[in-house]
Structures are given as C-alpha cells and as structure tokens.
C-alpha cells in the first residue's frame, strides 16, 4: 500500500508541479503585448509587412497566411524588445524566416510566381496613370529573376527605408556584407528593369 500510494501521490505532485512551473514561467517571462498595445502595433505594421511578404513571395494568398502566422509567433515570443524599431525588426525577421522555411519544405526554391496582373475589371485611367506603371508591371517580372535574398534586401532598403544594420538583423547576414550585396542586387534589378521596358505593350 505505501508503494502504490506513493506512486499516486507522485503522479498528482507531478501534475501540480507542472502547473506551478508553468505559472512561474509565465510570471517570469515578459508578458506578451496587451490588447491595446498589440492592436496599435498591428495597425502600424500590418500593411508594410504584408507588402513585403507579397513582393518576396509573389503571392497575395501566401502573404495573407504568412502575415497571420508571423503575428502569432511574434505574439507568443518571449523576446524582450528594447524599442519599437527592435520590435518591428523582430517581426520582419519572423516573416522572412517563415517564407524561407516554406520554400525549403516545398522545395520551390522560392521561385516567385509573378506577376499578378492588373485586375482586368479595373478601369484604366491612362491620363492619370503614374508614369511608373510599366515599371511596376515589369518589377514583378524582374523580381522573379532575382535571388530570394536580393529581393529581401532591395525591398527592405528602398521600399522600407531600413538601415543596413536593420537589414542585416532581418535577413541574417553580416552587417558589413549588406552594402555590397545590396549594390549588386540594385545593379541587377536596374538592368532587368531597363531591359524590360515596354516596346509596344500588348496587355489589354
């Protein structure tokens, strides 16, 4: 009897200690963002993150999925953020890693299925269309020929305006390498954009 009761007591104690440990862990770990803080952070960052995901994956639906997953992982993380910038970079790093992991699992090599064409039902306003509209359509095709890392670098540097240090922390390269990698990526994209200038567009 003592042995069996000991076993049962040990089982209950294990359960209780598990619960206690979890409560202690949750108290020690910096609490996740509160609702107001999270919602404000989301409203500030969701569109830029989605735009980033959309361009580096070339798929709006994937961008939707990755956006949600990125915010959930960010929400559940225990990382202490020193500043808003640090918090934002951390979110971008999560998003970048999600895309890379997805590509590895599906062995797509992260080839971008681009571009999503302009909505054919959307009325065209030729008079007021920005003169970059052809560059934008060509941007999709040009980016599809870039390496994944190059897409990330270019977007973060020029569309997002991130510093080299921020870029390095997001994409996981040495800070000293960012400048040269970015330079080469920019040259390549510029060449592709110039070579894909319209010569009598037939998209109608």
């Amino acid at each position: 009897m003592p042995a069996i009761i000991t076993v049962m007591t040990a089982g209950v104690n294990m359960v209780a200690s598990e619960v206690e440990l979890r409560e202690r862990d949750e108290a020690a770990i910096p609490a996740p963002l509160g609702e107001e803080e999270f919602r404000a952070f989301y409203e500030r960052t969701a569109r830029p993150v989605w735009a980033y995901l959309r361009r580096i994956t070339g798929d709006e639906h994937l961008a939707d999925d990755f956006l949600q997953e990125a915010y959930y992982r960010f929400y559940r993380s225990t990382t202490v953020h020193e500043s808003e910038s640090h918090r934002r970079n951390y979110l971008y790093r999560i998003a970048t890693n999600l895309v890379r992991d997805h590509a590895r699992r599906h062995r797509h090599g992260y080839d971008v299925s681009l571009p999503e064409s302009d909505d054919p039902n959307e009325p065209r306003d030729e008079a007021n269309a920005p003169h970059h509209v052809d560059d934008r359509m060509d941007l999709g095709r040009a980016m599809s020929r870039m390496e994944p890392l190059q897409r990330e670098l270019l977007w973060l540097a020029y569309a997002q305006g991130s510093s080299h240090e921020e870029i390095a922390s997001v994409v996981g390269v040495n800070k000293g390498s960012v400048k040269s990698l970015l330079y080469r990526a920019r040259r390549k994209l510029a060449t592709l954009l110039h070579s894909s200038e319209p010569q009598g567009d037939t998209n109608d």
Binding site: I4, M14, R54, R76, R136, A159, L193
Partner: protein, 167 residues
C-alpha cells in the same frame, strides 16, 4: 566597378520616400541625380519599389486589429489545452505502467505455481519479505485502492484542465 555608393543617395532616397522627389525637392539635388549614375540608378530602382509598395497598400485586404487579436487569443488557448492534455496522458500512462509492473512482480514472486522457477528472486530474502508485506497490504486495501485510483485517473485531467485554462 566601384561599389562605393554616392554620399547623396540617402538624401535622394529620403526625398523619394517622403514624396518631395522630384518636383518639390531642391534643384541642386535634381541636378546632382541627373549627373550621378549611381543616384540615377537608385531612383529607377527605388521608384519602382516605392510605387509597388504604394500599390500593395491599396490592395491589402487585412483583418482588423480586433479580429487579429481575437485569433491570437483563441489559438493560444487551443495550444495550451492541447499541451495540458498531452501532459495528463503521459502521467496517466506512467502511473498505469507503474501499477502494472508492481502487480506483475508481486504475482510473479508470490504465486505458488511460479515461485519455484524464479530462483533469482528467492535468493533475495529481504527483498522478498518487504515485497510480501507490500502486497499483503495491497490485498487488504484492494477495493478502496481501486476506487481511489479510478477517482484519480478520472479527476486529474479535469483538475489540470481547470488549472491551465484561463478565465
């Protein structure tokens, strides 16, 4: 080929980002970009990317912050419940195995029909004596013990679930 960027690239990029390029920025900057291949190249690339970003902002159909918050909470709660279930299952399995092992060893040691074949056990006289006492007590307390065990197996998951779920 030099990889040294022009020192005015950042200034040019800033003007593009805040919308002052090219019409509302200084003539000096425009003249510089016209003459600088690096900055000219940068305006082509950055212009395309910034336009794409603007277009993406207008296309994005994102869930509201309230909906996203609710999804975070719901999923978090689901994962906690799943973790608690796994923990309880492991403990129950361990307890069951322990009890079963004790029962099997006890039957093996004290069964008249088998004890003669378990020579290694009969050599450990003290071990046998202790175990005999334990099993005798178990037999005496058998019924209450079974009820207690059944109650624990039934109630433990409920208690743990109540403990780990939030209000």
């Amino acid at each position: 080929m030099t990889e040294i960027a022009c020192e005015r690239e950042l200034e040019t990029l800033a003007a593009m980002s805040d919308g002052t390029w090219p019409d509302r920025c200084g003539e000096d900057l425009r003249a510089h970009v016209a003459a600088c291949p690096s900055c000219a190249e940068m305006t082509v690339v950055a212009g395309a990317l910034l336009d794409d970003r603007t277009e993406a902002f207008s296309r994005a159909a994102l869930p509201s912050s309230g909906l996203m918050w609710w999804r975070m909470q719901f999923r978090s709660r689901q994962e906690r419940a799943r973790a608690a279930t796994i923990t309880v299952a492991i403990i129950q399995a361990a307890a069951f195995v322990a009890v079963l092992a004790i029962a099997i060893v006890g039957m093996a040691v004290f069964s008249p029909s088998t004890s003669h074949s378990l020579n290694p056990f009969t050599d450990f006289a003290s071990f046998q004596a202790i175990f005999k006492t334990a099993v005798a007590s178990a037999v005496q307390w058998g019924v209450p013990l079974i009820f207690a065990f059944a109650a624990w197996v039934t109630l433990a998951p409920v208690i743990v679930w109540m403990a780990v779920t939030e209000d």
